[in-house]
Amino acid sequence: MRVNGKTVPLEQEQTLLAFLTAGRYDSRTIAVERNGVIVPKAEYESTMLADEDALEIVRFVGGG
């Protein structure tokens, strides 16, 4: 699977939420695009990842 332009091995079948949790992403402060389409937060848990997926994960930090 491609994540932010880098190839990462997808070791087992998993949901997007499980992948994000394992990567220590806080789902409240990120935006995720899967194959060019934004994934609504409500669908993180029901989205199954596949080897051919490309994810773009943007993490926001505070300040403005």
Binding site: N4, R28, T29, I30, A31, E33, G36, I38, P40, K41, E56, V58, R59, F60, V61, G62, G63, G64
Partner: protein, 267 residues
């Protein structure tokens, strides 16, 4: 030949810019030719843009707008004038973005913030002592009117939530995410990208403290999402927000808005 002089198309039989000044103005008037203030005479060519400004004189409203935009690259003004840009959050990023977009003559600005100006804002946000206690929307609108009265400014003193994003920002060309809190930033970006198909989002992440200014950059992680900042330095206990990096980041956002309004999508 046809020359645009102070915003009006005219036919002039002058060979040079200074001949035109002698004909239309006075010897000490400032002359701006195609976006550049000239000190020595230049030949004129068909369709040049010439602005002749009498120092210290208050021009009429029609002439004023062309004089204000005289230092723009020619043909930029009309594109910017058609632009509609929304700014969500009028803090260190949003207030400074709004000032820049007004200076460059973006046609319509929508300013959204529920908050009032307070003392801890003044270290980086475009407000003055006299604004303390005022809604940020009104305090900023007043400044923009003084800078460029030709910009149409709309204000919404409301809190932006997932439920009102589509209604607030539908019809905008570009939405600037200029919030402080990371969850609010993510909420706005997620909702806007999902619910507003034509809108481009210019967001910010990572401008706290006083690390190198050069770490702040513009990136385009998604097709319609641009993110400005160093992407890592968040505001936190012990890491404050200071005017220079916040304004640098606001400048990145404003410049990306400018590029997008001119049809340039790459960073």
């Amino acid at each position: 030949m046809k020359i645009e002089v102070n915003g009006k198309q005219r036919t002039l039989d002058c060979r040079t810019a200074f001949e035109a000044r002698a004909r239309l103005g006075g010897e000490s008037d400032i002359v701006v030719l195609n976006g550049f203030q000239i000190d020595s005479d230049h030949l004129l060519a068909e369709n040049d843009t010439l602005t002749i400004i009498r120092k210290g004189a208050m021009p009429g409203r029609e002439e004023l707008e062309s004089m204000m935009m005289a230092r723009h690259t020619p043909a930029v003004h009309s594109k910017l004038k058609q632009g509609k840009v929304a700014i969500a959050g009028l803090g260190g990023l949003g207030s400074n973005i709004a000032i820049m977009l007004a200076r460059i003559g973006v046609g319509q600005l929508l300013l959204v913030d529920f908050d009032i100006v307070e003392p801890s804002n003044l270290n980086r946000q475009s407000y003055y002592i006299r604004h303390l206690g005022m809604p940020k929307t009104l305090a900023l609108q007043g400044q923009l009117t003084e800078i460029n009265p030709f910009v149409r400014v709309e204000t919404r003193p409301v809190r932006v939530e997932a439920a009102n994003v589509a209604a607030l920002f539908a019809g905008c060309d570009i939405l600037c995410e200029a919030f402080d809190r990371p969850d609010a930033k993510a909420m706005l970006v997620n909702t806007a990208l999902a619910e507003l198909p034509g809108v481009k989002v210019v967001a910010a992440s990572g401008m706290a403290g006083f690390a190198s200014a050069n770490a702040i950059r513009t990136s385009r992680p998604m097709g319609r999402l641009y993110v400005c900042g160093d992407r890592e330095t968040g505001a936190a206990v012990g890491t404050g927000l200071m005017a220079p990096r916040v304004q640098i980041c606001a400048g990145h956002q404003a410049n990306m808005v400018l590029r997008l309004l001119l049809g340039l999508e790459d960073i």
